[in-house]
């Protein structure tokens, strides 16, 4: 049984925009799956359907054998604890401390009153500091999140994801808002997480990053899968299919 099984998944945005059109694929534990496609091809929607930040219209998603699409809110919370997410615009709580941002990764573990009062247990804080060290910014813990640079904010985002100790990491365009050098560092962290046996599903724009990090690539176009296989297998012909004719000169480097 694969870790993640997606069958006949469709998403229609009202009134009649078809974002995902009958998508099926499976992901094995430990894969580094890259989703590529033009903006508007349904990458973000696909990723957000997996943890139901967006409600799918049809189809089934099974995570470790549990059905996600019909899960009750309690079951869904349990599933979301296992699936971490990293965002393009970092989505940190800007006016809160970096440490608090990292700690939100463990909210699912915390009792109602403790979380309302913001009383995180000491060992949880210790873990948060360790995660910040893992992403190389232990000294920033007590700064406000909006004081950090873009690259640093994304590291906090990754630390927050690590805090969940997830089995699956979803990364929605994690490097699109960053400069190339920082992008490399962030991708290295994702690769490191992947080396520890965690599954990573990410959407990316740059083919060289796809080739360097991915163990498998899925190409989306108009909500349909147009490629599924090893990144090395994406030749110019395939690439044009995914990104359209004009993308060629921009993306192949």
């Amino acid at each position: 049984m694969a870790q993640l099984e997606i069958n006949n998944l469709s998403k229609v945005y009202p009134p009649d925009v078809l974002a995902l059109d009958d998508i099926s694929f499976e992901v094995e534990q430990g894969e580094f799956l890259v989703v590529i496609g033009l903006s508007g091809s349904g990458k973000s929607t696909l990723l957000r359907c997996i943890n139901r930040l967006i409600e799918p219209t049809e189809g089934s998603i099974k995570f470790e054998g549990k059905e996600v699409t019909t899960a009750s809110s309690k079951e869904l919370k349990a599933i979301r604890k296992e699936i971490a997410m990293v965002f393009q615009r970092f989505n940190l709580i800007e006016r809160s401390l970096v440490l608090t941002n990292v700690l939100t990764g463990q909210l699912g573990e915390l009792s109602f009153w403790r979380s309302m009062l913001g009383r995180f247990p000491e060992e949880m804080k210790q873990t948060a500091h360790e995660k910040l060290k893992t992403v190389g910014i232990p000294e920033q813990a007590f700064k406000r999140a909006d004081e950090l640079s873009g690259g640093q904010q994304q590291r906090v985002g990754i630390a927050r994801a690590l805090m969940q100790d997830p089995k699956l990491l979803l990364a929605d365009e994690p490097v699109s808002s960053l400069d190339p050098a920082t992008s490399g560092t962030i991708m290295d962290y994702l690769a490191e997480i992947n080396d520890q046996g965690k599954t990573v599903i990410t959407s990316l724009h740059f083919l060289d990053l796809v080739r360097k990090y991915g163990t498998r690539a899925i190409g989306l176009k108009g909500g349909k899968i147009v490629y599924d296989g090893h990144p090395k297998g994406i030749d110019d012909q395939k690439f044009k299919e995914v990104f359209g004719e004009e993308a060629e000169k921009v993306h192949i480097s």
């Binding site: 943890n51 930040l53 869904l76 919370k77 349990a78 599933i79 979301r80 604890k81 699936i83 971490a84 997410m85 965002f87 615009r89 970092f90 989505n91 940190l92 709580i93 800007e94 006016r95 809160s96 608090t100 939100t104 990764g105 463990q106 909210l107 699912g108 915390l110 109602f112 979380s115 309302m116 985002g157 927050r160 969940q164 979803l170």
Partner: protein
Amino acid sequence: MKKPKRFTFPDLAEGIKPLLLDWLIWGYLAYTVIFLLDSYWYTQYVDWYGSLTLEPWGWALTVLGTLGCALASERFGISVGLKTIKGKERAPRKTWALTNWGITTVVLIVLTFWVGWLTTDMELGIITRRASKTSHLWYGLSHPDFTHLMNIDPELNDTILGSLVDTLFMAYLATLLGGVLAAPLGFLGARNIMGGSLFRKTIFYVTRAFFNVVRSVESLLWAIVFAIWVGWGPAAGTFALLIHSMAALAKLFSEQVESIKKGPIEAVQATGASFWQIVRYGAVPQVIPQYTAFLLYRLDINVRMATVIALVGGGGIGRFFFYYKSQLDWNQVGAVTIVIATVVWLLDYISGKAREKIV
């Protein structure tokens, strides 16, 4: 493909707006010109009260004439209304003052100033002529009498410091209670939360209208109402400040709620947090710092207002000011003024520093 353009009411409204604006401008122009003519030559047409009197046919002529001018200006392409409302071509940067818009603005400001000067009875000469009348005031200020700072004034049955504490407490209670009450109202007045069904939209508009009406009546006028309601004293003043603060803060709060970003909420949601945890960690941190800053600012405003609310029976340190002033006891007035200025200044400073730190 182009559909044949059908006539709709919004189109008409959109089309008529520039004309209305032009008409308004021409009408105002006519008003000022008639006012000036009247006050310099035909003074019999401006009554003792300074209001314009004109024969009925004169009014009719003015209304039609200005409409004609408005139509003409649109016809000859010098319409300010078209440019402002449709905001079409941004002309190759001429000197701003030479555009139609610029000329109109300058002319209107100059005319308004002129009419304003006459209508508000400006007479700078009086300031120097009657300067001597204020001598006892300056004398009192420079020789303040602090007798009742700590000693009870038998007439008012309180000390200046005691009433100062009252003033601060009034402002504090009003801000805190107003701030707490404003939050739920603020949600009802937030467009992003109250969108959707007609019912919700109605609540939204009713709430917004309520804020605006309550806000438009100054707290001093509210104090008159509450003085009638609960009797003279600090409670009336507090209620007045409270209701005004509540409306003002509710508006600010709803604007904050409207500007909540979706991203952080998504991120907290994705960690498997419960609804209240999402609110606590995703939404609240986006609203609270700015709102706290508003509260501090409001506290500042309320303290200022609380110093004068006694004028209409609202209690606080103003009681001393107005009482001593009515007794022409200028030395005591001086003392009270100094206390008020110091406290307000201090609070302004502290609240400013605290706001800087929060936002």
